[in-house]
Each structure stands twice: as structure tokens, then as C-alpha cells.
């Protein structure tokens, strides 16, 4: 029974010109998107490797220099592109790609691709994720909207009923028939991406398991749409109504809800403006130790405390250069200020994520979107992780430099210069994004919401179609 | 009123209608009998100008249909097999719309008058069509023909799906129109109704008009016998 229904439905689908054309167009778009993305991916990674190499060269060849001058001169952390960004670009375009690491200051990532593009870029890009997230559900709507209404309009519906067909069997048959082409397209796309990625010369961290996880997320997402479209088709009296209703579902889920969610999240948990943020940082900094200013109130306190600790009464008697020590303490205070202010940002971001999650009840698009970006390491969380890693590296670098001055100079000594080969001793910045398990764990609520959508929409479909 | 000369319609190699010679005069009711695919609906489509003849020509009121697609329609009314009107509009509104877009403005009493003449109960005048039976819809179709003052009436399977009473009523309506001098061409499977209302009867098969009678010259049983013989013609020879 089920097999016959599937066979008949598939035959019907493929004999329909509009279906053949749609499949052809979707495949063509996917091919073009993968091709464009893989070129972009290679270009970006070449630039990344070149910039990283030349930056390290600049650092290593500073010559003889005071370590604190080097700290002000600073260095850069560059964000690499991850293999699965080939499939899902996520927020990469809108997040900065390089962070300036200097003394006293935590900087934000700079130079996002979107700021270097025309206003047109805000329409979106022809990337695989665009097709997977937007076009495929539309494809499901177009393929499935008349699945039941057609039978009713042609009268075959009563024929089926009189043949004693069980409701759920017919529904399952139709479901599988509608899902099969979607499954085929998705699998072939991901396979293609996997093959392209494994053949790139430096695919580094690419793992098939992530690709499979991503594929499963998309399949769940499509299952939800398949359920909803079939349910609407069963519920509607006419094909026209069914089309308009399932199309509205698509519009709400994929177009309207994300935008509305972004507006609501921003209104409820706004980020400070860049100037406000800078003002807050400045206020906190001034309240504490200033490494450059020995007359600062906190600096005096530190002086007394250190003298007491070492049981000496003059800074000259300390076994290290107090100026450099104070510099390091000031650095630590500033790091704390940034930690606090960035944590506030992070809190706002997490609250915003909470808003997105609660609105995900209106749209299966949202959890699928976030999961896919997460697995591809192109989401905002990865960006945070990267910028935290860069900050830790910055703090470690400052300590490395200040310690060198503290150990090699005496209090009051000026004009110390570290030797030219000292800079090479600084370990290079290296960042590994969280592994798949960690990503899934962080996104467990999204996973749950998507799972809930899948289960509930299945229940809805099979309960309402018990009697066909 | 209706004349066809050598009227032929081919779809590729397939001949749907072959050299049809037909003439329906004022006050005639001509019934075309035949199985599905015999060419009855093709004939009506050609008379309406919905399709173009491969060769030959059709005339309505001495005008060649092919050359005067809009002109000829002024004289004819057409009721398709499954007459669909606008379901959200009432009978009066549908009548007003269809006569109005053709350029005929009618006031309310005129509209109701035509509906009454077509035999619709007055209680249904202002009800929406969506609740109408096929018979009731056909009465509105007749009213449209009456309002148009049509000289030619083309009917495609008008009695299929009607209950005997409605079918009988429909026959009476046709007689009434005949009295007004309307030339009617009706395609049907219904031998009984054809014998009852027609002045002339033709039997078609595979695009050919095989037999023609004056209705009064033939009895119902003779008609049936001839019809079946004509239909089985092919099976007999092959």
C-alpha cells in the first residue's frame, strides 16, 4: 500500500513539467553556488595565510626595541575561514576578520566584508545556505501544496476512500514521495561539498561528521516543512487556498520571522553604541590603576603594598623593575575592565539569543539557521570564541613583554631595549574552533526546538489525517 | 442561421471533424448525437471560434466565424456542459454581469423578468450561485440567452446530470425559445430527450456526420436502432 502510493506519487511528480523544471533550476543554482563559494573560500584563505605570514614577519623583525614600545606597536590576530563555511557562510560576512592586539586596549574585530560592499549585498548572496534554507522549503511548498487537494479536485480522493485505504498509509506514502527528491538534492549537495572540501589542498579541520550533522539538521528542517505543507493540503478545500496558505507559512517562517526577531531582540536587549561602550570603558579604567602614571591613586596604593610585601622601604631595593611591574598590574586591571564590559556585551548577546529561541516557536527556520551556522563555525558564538581567544593571547603577550622588562631592568632604568631575536620567542597565535560535540552541546536548545517542531508537526499531520 | 461548409479540423494526423455540412434554420432544434470523441464538441468550438478550422468555414447569421469572431458572438448564446457562473454572485448579479459586459444594460425588473421567463423560482433570484443545482444554473444560462436576444443557441450536453424533472423542464424551455425563432444546435448523448425536443437529428462518428433525419420522420426505437448500428459500424466490418 505505502510502496504503491510512493511509486504513484513519484511518477506523478516527475511527469509534471513544473516539477522537472524546478528540480533542474534548484540543482543548477546549487552548482553555481558551490562553485562561487569554493572560489571565494580559496581566495579568502590565501589572503589569510599571506596576511598571517607577513604579520608574523613584521613582528619577528622589529629589531632592538623596548618591549613596551613593541606592546604599543602591537600585532594582529586574523580569523581563518573554516571548511564548512563553503556550505553555510553564516555571519562571516558581517563579522570582522582581524583583531589588533595592543597594549592597554581590547579591540573589536575589524573589516567585515559587508562594509566593503555596496548596499546590494544586503539582499543576500547566492550561497549554498541560501538555497538550503530558503529555496528548498519553497520547493517543498510548490511540490506538495496540491498533494491532497488534487485528489479531491479530480475525485480520486473518494476512489481511494472507497478502496478502503488506511489514512496514515496514504499520508506516509505521500510524505515519503515528497521527501525523496528533497533528500536526494540535499544529499547530493552535501556530498559535492564534501568532495570539494576533501580535495582542497589545505582543508585542515574538515570532518565528515560535521557535514553529516549539518545534513541531518537540514533534513529535520525539511521534514517540518513537508509535514506542514501536507497538513495544509489536507486541510484546504482547494489547491489555490492550499498554495496561498503554505506560501504564507513559508513567508512567515523564512522571511518575516527572522527579521521581526532581529528587531525584537535588538529593541529588548540593545547593544551600546560604539561611543557609549568606549565611554564606559574609559570610566572604569580611570577608576583603577594606570600603568603609565605613577601619581595615580591606585598606583600609590600598589607601591605601598609591594614595598610592605618585600619588607623594603625603597622601590630601588626591589629585585625587579617596579615600573614594569606596575605596567603589568595596570595591564591586568585594564584587561579586567574589558572583561567586564565585553561580558556585558556577551550578556546582551546571550539574551538576544534567548529572544531568538523563544521566537523559534514561530519559525523552524530560526533553530535550523543557528544550528547550521554553529556546525559550520560561522556563527556568532564562534566569533565570540575567537575574539576571547585573541584577548587571552593579547593578555599573555603583554605579560610576556612586561615580564621581560621587569626581569632585565632596574627601577628607574630607562631606554632598555630587548634584543632583536627576543620577539621570535613569543608563541604564535593559534585558534581552534570548538569541536562538533561542543557546538551541539551549546546549541542543545536549538536542537531541542527543531526536534520539537519535527515531532509536533508529525503528530499534527498524522492525527488530522487519520480520516482522509 | 448556422451553416457549415466543408468544415474540417485536424490535429496533426488526427482528424477531429471531417467535411461537416450542416445547416440549422430559424426555429430549428438540431440534435447532434454521437459517442465521446465523435466531433460534437469540436463542432461547437468551431462555431464559437474557440478553435480555427483546418479547412472549410462556419457561418453564424451569414457571417464567417473566423473573420468576425466578435460580431458572430453577438447573435449566439452558449451553454457549456458544466455551466459555471460566479459562485459568490447571485443569479441576478450573474445575469447582469454577463449581459452587461456584452454591452447590454438591463434594469432590475428586466433582469428578474428574464430569470422568470427562464423558469427560475423567484426565491432564488437573489441567492448566491454557490448553492444552486446544475438545473438552476442552466436556467440562469437560458436567461442569459434570453437577455441577449440570441438568434443562435449552442448547447453542449445540456441534460447530462439533470434529474428527469429538470430535464423535462429544460425541454419545455427549448420549445419556448424555438417559438421565438431561435436556431438551436445541441450536442447530446440523450436519445430520448433528442427525439422529444429536436426538429432535426444527426448522428456523428469519428468526425463524420453519418446520418441525418427530420425528427418527426423517425420513431424513438428506430432512432435507437440506427444509432447503435452506426456506432457498431466499425466493429462490424473489422
Amino acid at each position: 500500500m505505502i510502496r504503491k502510493t510512493i511509486k504513484k506519487e513519484i511518477k506523478e511528480l516527475f511527469r509534471d513539467g513544473r516539477v522537472r523544471i524546478s528540480i533542474f533550476i534548484v540543482l543548477l543554482l546549487l552548482g553555481v553556488a558551490v562553485w562561487i563559494s569554493s572560489r571565494q573560500y580559496q581566495n579568502t584563505n590565501q589572503d589569510y595565510a599571506a596576511a598571517r605570514l607577513s604579520e608574523r614577519e613584521v613582528w619577528d623583525n622589529q629589531g632592538e626595541k623596548n618591549p613596551h614600545s613593541a606592546a604599543h606597536y602591537g600585532t594582529y590576530a586574523f580569523k581563518p575561514k573554516y571548511p564548512l563555511s563553503l556550505v553555510d557562510q553564516g555571519v562571516d560576512k558581517y563579522a570582522g576578520t582581524s583583531i589588533f592586539l595592543e597594549a592597554h586596549k581590547r579591540n573589536e574585530a575589524q573589516f567585515s566584508a559587508a562594509t566593503d560592499q555596496t548596499g546590494l549585498s544586503r539582499f543576500g548572496d547566492l550561497t549554498p545556505d541560501f538555497i538550503l534554507l530558503f529555496i528548498m522549503p519553497l520547493f517543498i511548498v510548490l511540490l506538495g501544496y496540491n498533494s491532497f487537494t488534487k485528489e479531491r479536485e479530480l475525485g480520486t480522493h473518494s476512489l481511494l476512500k472507497s478502496a478502503g485505504a488506511r489514512g496514515w498509509k496514504i499520508v506516509l506514502g505521500k510524505w515519503i514521495a515528497l521527501f525523496l527528491p528533497v533528500l536526494a538534492i540535499t544529499t547530493s549537495l552535501l556530498l559535492l561539498a564534501g568532495i570539494v572540501l576533501s580535495n582542497l589542498p589545505d582543508y585542515g579541520v574538515f570532518q565528515w561528521s560535521s557535514l553529516v550533522a549539518m545534513g541531518l539538521v537540514y533534513l529535520l528542517y525539511y521534514a517540518v516543512f513537508t509535514n506542514l505543507v501536507l497538513w495544509v493540503s489536507h486541510w484546504a478545500k482547494r489547491s489555490g487556498i492550499s498554495l496561498v496558505v503554505s506560501l504564507s507559512l513559508w513567508i512567515v517562517a523564512c522571511l518575516a520571522a527572522p527579521k521581526a526577531a532581529s528587531n525584537i531582540a535588538e529593541a529588548r536587549h540593545p547593544y551600546p553604541t560604539r561611543q557609549e561602550f568606549a565611554a564606559n570603558v574609559l570610566k572604569d579604567k580611570e577608576a583603577g590603576l594606570d600603568g603609565h602614571n605613577p601619581w595615580n591613586k591606585e598606583a600609590k596604593l600598589l607601591e605601598e603594598q609591594v614595598l610592605a610585601e618585600h619588607g623594603v622601604d625603597s622601590l630601588h631595593q626591589l629585585p625587579f623593575n617596579f615600573n614594569a611591574y606596575r605596567m603589568q598590574k595596570g595591564e591586568e586591571h585594564e584587561a579586567e575592565v574589558y572583561f567586564k564590559q565585553y561580558n556585558y556585551l556577551k550578556e546582551q548577546y546571550q539574551k538576544q539569543s534567548g529572544t531568538y529561541r523563544s521566537l523559534a516557536l514561530l519559525s523552524p527556520f530560526l533553530p535550523a539557521r543557528f544550528l547550521s551556522m554553529g556546525i559550520a563555525h560561522t556563527d556568532y558564538a564562534t566569533h565570540w570564541d575567537f575574539s576571547d581567544a585573541a584577548e587571552n593571547y593579547r593578555i599573555a603577550t603583554q605579560k610576556f613583554l612586561n615580564d621581560n622588562t621587569a626581569q632585565n631592568t632596574k627601577y628607574g632604568e630607562r631606554g632598555y631595549k630587548a634584543s632583536a631575536d627576543f620577539w621570535k620567542q613569543l608563541p604564535a597565535f593559534d585558534y581552534d574552533p570548538p569541536c562538533l560535540d561542543k557546538v551541539l552541546e551549546n546549541n542543545s536548545s536549538n536542537l531541542m526546538i527543531l526536534g520539537m517542531w519535527t515531532v509536533l508537526s508529525f503528530i499534527l499531520l498524522f492525527i488530522s489525517t487519520k480520516k482522509i | 442561421m448556422i451553416i457549415t461548409n466543408n468544415l474540417t479540423k485536424k490535429y496533426g494526423d488526427f482528424t477531429a471533424l471531417d467535411q461537416l455540412e450542416l445547416s440549422v434554420k430559424e426555429g430549428d432544434i438540431y440534435c447532434l448525437l454521437g459517442a465521446n470523441g465523435a466531433g460534437k464538441t469540436t463542432t461547437i468550438n468551431l462555431l464559437l471560434g474557440f478553435i480555427q478550422p483546418t479547412s472549410g468555414s462556419a457561418f453564424i447569421n451569414q457571417l464567417k466565424v473566423e473573420e468576425n469572431p466578435l460580431e458572430t458572438k453577438r447573435f449566439l448564446a452558449y451553454i457549456p456542459e458544466n455551466l459555471m457562473l460566479y459562485p459568490s454572485l447571485s443569479a441576478v448579479e450573474n445575469l447582469d454581469y454577463f449581459s452587461g459586459i456584452g454591452g447590454k444594460s438591463l434594469n432590475k425588473s428586466q433582469l428578474e423578468g428574464f430569470l422568470e421567463e427562464a423558469g427560475l423560482q423567484s426565491g432564488a433570484f437573489h441567492k448566491r450561485i454557490e448553492s444552486f443545482s446544475k438545473g438552476m444554473r442552466q436556467k440562469v444560462g437560458i436567461a442569459i440567452a434570453l437577455a441577449k436576444d440570441a438568434k443562435v443557441l449552442l448547447l453542449d450536453e445540456p441534460t447530462s446530470g439533470l434529474d428527469p424533472k429538470a430535464s423535462n423542464e429544460f425541454g419545455h424551455l427549448l420549445q419556448k425559445l424555438r417559438g421565438k425563432g431561435v436556431a438551436t444546435l445541441m450536442a447530446t448523448h440523450d436519445l430520448f430527450r433528442a427525439k422529444e425536443v429536436a426538429t432535426h437529428i444527426g448522428i456523428m462518428k469519428d468526425g463524420h456526420l453519418k446520418q441525418q433525419f427530420v425528427a418527426s420522420d423517425i420513431s424513438l426505437s428506430q432512432l435507437e436502432k440506427t444509432y447503435l448500428e452506426t456506432m457498431d459500424y466499425k466493429t462490424l466490418v473489422s
Binding site: I21, I36, A50, K93, T115, L243, L255, T273 | Y78, S88
Partner: protein
């Protein structure tokens, strides 16, 4: 025929609840979008006011401090922040260079979520230190805003498609088309009138609901009447384009299902695909040089300048003999060297930075040349411009700020090199920044382009009539 079509089509639309649904949906969509946009505009205004107030506060403190110093009192501030040094004023008391929203800013978010609307250029900072991007969650940038532009460009066409994809085919499928075709009327005219009528209703409902929603959200329509009419005109022209497409598809395609697929396909092409492809094309033809490599260049220039600071200062003073003459002390501090080399760095950085603006300009030019390919792009550009949130506005803002930064720097340079003190009476002479909005451009060329595309599509629809003029009735049996 027109009178009857108008009357009964309207009755049918009312009875099938189409008009009511359209009113509710449009009110909801426009209402939410306008409310959102206005909230953003208000926040932007409030932020600027707050930032200005902060500066006014800081200025009051600075003048107090300056007064104490001038009176010869001991002050308890770090020596390098005392405002009698011109560089202290130039660095620690910058002015606000803000870009206030226009009255119609709510129409289109444009680039306003990505770029900041106020910066404070300091005397010692270089142009690269001016960060014009705003702190926004990239998720927000990815998803975009629910603004009027989104409703008009993305959703309105979908509403129109749902409203008109089966105008002809549903009549064919239900059978009423055969009855209509038997009337002495032209089916083309009939279809044209039917769609025209639907366009009329959409236009009326849109105009009324937009006006109502704007008034409820305190939009100053009165003082922006020309712009408001321009907005309505371009929106209606865009709606007309989609109705024209529906007309052509109804004539050329066939069954309801196929029409729907064709129209949605066209929607994907015009609204999503063409903009994405053009954007990609711009990026491929005029690629942005790598920002990473730019950083490397910049650092090389700066490192070199730092090494040669003394030499640079000497050269600088040779080029500016006026400074040395007026100053008797000949004192040279860190700032003297720094500012001189900074001027050099700026000069050397300029060609590097300008490459980015040039490439962006080239991309924009390419885009301008092909914008007509999709009315969605034309409308987006036009709405962004009306809202004052387009690329053009932000480019102009960047240029004005960079010019102002130079003016600010130049204001302090003579004082620095002449070793003059900054005094209370100099306060009033500090340069101020006022954003000069690019003058409002009439949107008639955009309107013209959209109307032309609508006419072309109508023409393509009517072409079927020319090709099959004898077989008009073939529409019936398709």
C-alpha cells in the same frame, strides 16, 4: 464592459474576503515596519543628543579646569591632560561629528545598522583610527530589519502573486471562461481590466493604510510631502510591475499550478537572484584588496615614520617656516615629532585607503549601469536614498568626517608648533561639525525605470495577442 467588470469584480472580491484580508495584512505589515523604523530613528536621535550632552558636560569641566590653570591654581589632573596644552584639547576634548537621521529614515534601514552615526575624531588619530562601523550583533545584520523597504520589496510582490496568479486560469479551470469567451468581448481587454481593477484596489488600500500608519507613528508627512508622494509613486509603480508580470504569466503560461511556479520563480529571480549575482559580479570584477595586506602596508609605513621621526620633524618645519618664526622658545615635545610624522603617514596612507573607496565606487558604478535589470534593486536604492541611509549618504558622511578631522587637526597645529597655550577665549573658535545631507534627489529616474519595466512586461504579455491575434479564443482551451 468596464463598468460591469468593476462593479462585479469588486463585489466578488469583497464577498470572498480578499479585500478585507488585504487591508488587515497590509495594516499589520506596514504598521509593524513603521513602528520598528521609528523606534530606531528615535533611538538614533536620543543617542546623538546624549553624546552631545556628554560633550557639553566635559566642556564645562574643561573650562573650569582651564580657568583654574589660568588663575595659577594647582590642579589635580595628569599633566598631559591639562587643557592649556592644545594637543590635550585636540585629543581629550574632541567634537562630535554626528549624522542625525532624516525624517523618513524609518523607510529603509539601509546601511544604518552597520555604520555608526557619530564619531569623535581626535587630533592625533589617523583616518584609519576612525572606526565607522557600529557595534551590532552580526546575527542582526544577517537577518536584516523588518522595515518598510522589506515589506515593499519582498512581501508586496508575494501578496500580489497570491492575489493574481490564477485570475485567468481559475476561470478556465472552473469553466466560466467558456461562457465568457462566448460573449462578444475581447478576452485580453477583459483580463487587462480584471487585473487593472485588482491593481486599483491594492493601490487604494496601500495608499490609505500607509497614510494611516504613518500618521499614527508621528511621521512628519506634511513637511516631507514631496518625498512622501515620491515614495508612494515608486511603491505603486513597483506594484504595477508585479501586476504586469502576473498579466504576462496568466497569458503565456497556463494552469494555476504552473502560473504559481512561474511567478514565484520570477520573484526569486528578481528579488533574490539578480541582486545576489550583481553583487557577486561587482566583487569579482572589482575585488576589494585584502584588508589583511592593507594592515601590513600600514604598519610598514608607520614603523618607518617612527624611526625617522626627527628627520621628518626637521623637514616639516622647513616646509612650514611660519611656525618657527613666531615661536621664541623652540621647545620640541613628543607631540611635535608625532604630529609631523602623522601628517606624513596620512599622506602615505591616503593612496592605500583610497583604493577601497575607489573599488567600492567602481562596484557602485557597475551596479548603477545594471540596476534596471531588476526593479527590486531600483526600489531598494530609491528607498535607501529617501531614508538617507544608503551607501551614498554614508560615503558622504565618511568624507565629511575625514575633512573635519583634518580641520580639527589643522586648528591645533599652529598652536602646537608656535608653542602657544590654549586659553579660555580660544574655546569659541573650536571648529564644529554639521552634517551636510546630500540634497534630496527626486526619484523620477527610478520611477521612470520601474514604470518602463512594467510597460515592457505588459508589452510581453500583449505580444501573445499579436502573435496569436487570430486565435485569441485559444486561451479558452489551453
Amino acid at each position: 464592459m468596464f463598468r460591469y467588470n468593476f462593479k462585479y469584480e469588486s463585489i466578488a472580491l469583497l464577498r470572498s474576503k480578499w479585500i478585507q484580508i488585504l487591508i488587515v495584512i497590509l495594516l499589520l505589515l506596514f504598521g509593524f515596519a513603521t513602528y520598528n523604523g521609528q523606534q530606531k530613528t528615535f533611538k538614533r536621535q536620543a543617542d546623538i543628543i546624549e553624546a552631545n550632552a556628554e560633550i557639553a558636560d566635559a566642556d564645562r569641566d574643561m573650562l573650569k579646569l582651564l580657568d583654574s590653570v589660568e588663575q595659577g591654581f594647582q590642579v589635580s589632573a595628569s599633566s598631559w591632560t591639562i587643557p592649556n596644552a592644545p594637543m590635550a584639547v585636540g585629543n581629550y576634548h574632541p567634537r562630535l561629528a554626528s549624522m542625525p537621521p532624516s525624517d523618513l529614515s524609518f523607510l529603509a534601514t539601509g546601511q544604518s545598522d552597520m555604520f555608526t552615526h557619530f564619531v569623535k575624531p581626535t587630533a592625533s588619530g589617523d583616518d584609519l583610527a576612525l572606526n565607522f562601523t557600529e557595534m551590532t550583533s552580526p546575527v542582526q545584520l544577517l537577518f536584516g530589519s523588518f522595515d518598510i523597504a522589506f515589506v515593499v520589496i519582498f512581501l508586496l510582490p508575494l501578496l500580489i502573486i497570491a492575489f493574481s496568479y490564477d485570475v485567468l486560469s481559475s476561470e478556465r479551470e472552473s469553466g466560466s471562461l467558456r461562457l465568457l469567451a462566448a460573449q462578444p468581448i475581447s478576452l485580453y481587454k477583459w483580463l487587462f481590466q480584471k487585473l487593472g481593477l485588482r491593481f486599483f484596489w491594492v493601490a487604494v488600500i496601500m495608499t490609505l493604510s500607509l497614510t494611516l500608519v504613518f500618521l499614527l507613528n508621528q511621521v512628519a508627512i506634511g513637511s516631507n510631502f514631496a518625498a512622501f508622494m515620491g515614495f508612494l509613486a515608486i511603491t505603486l509603480a513597483y506594484a504595477l510591475f508585479w501586476f504586469a508580470l502576473a498579466f504576462a504569466v496568466n497569458l503565456w503560461v497556463g494552469s494555476s499550478g504552473k502560473n504559481a511556479v512561474a511567478l514565484l520563480g520570477l520573484w526569486v529571480v528578481f528579488v533574490l537572484l539578480i541582486p545576489a549575482v550583481l553583487n557577486q559580479l561587482g566583487g569579482t570584477l572589482y575585488p576589494m584588496p585584502s584588508r589583511g595586506l592593507m594592515i601590513n602596508d600600514m604598519r610598514a609605513i608607520k614603523a618607518e615614520a617612527t624611526q625617522r621621526q626627527d628627520e621628518i620633524l626637521d623637514n616639516y618645519l622647513r616646509d612650514h617656516p611660519e611656525y618657527a618664526v613666531n615661536d621664541t622658545t623652540q621647545k620640541r615635545s613628543f607631540w611635535h615629532r608625532y604630529m609631523a610624522s602623522q601628517q606624513l603617514v596620512k599622506k602615505e596612507l591616503e593612496p592605500i585607503l583610497i583604493r577601497y573607496e575607489r573599488q567600492l565606487e567602481k562596484q557602485q558604478l557597475l551596479l548603477n549601469r545594471f540596476t534596471w535589470v531588476s526593479p527590486a534593486i531600483v526600489v531598494q536604492g530609491s528607498l535607501n536614498q529617501m531614508a538617507g541611509n544608503g551607501n551614498k549618504s554614508y560615503k558622504s558622511y565618511r568624507e565629511q568626517v575625514i575633512a573635519f578631522a583634518q580641520e580639527w587637526r589643522n586648528h591645533f597645529l599652529p598652536m602646537l608648533y608656535n608653542n602657544q597655550e590654549f586659553r579660555s577665549e580660544n574655546y569659541a573658535q573650536l571648529p564644529k561639525f554639521t552634517f551636510q545631507r546630500p540634497t534630496y534627489q527626486s526619484q523620477s529616474s527610478a520611477l521612470f525605470v520601474v514604470l518602463c519595466s512594467a510597460l515592457i512586461v505588459l508589452g510581453i504579455g500583449a505580444l501573445r495577442f499579436r502573435i496569436y491575434s487570430k486565435k485569441e479564443q485559444s486561451l479558452v482551451n489551453q
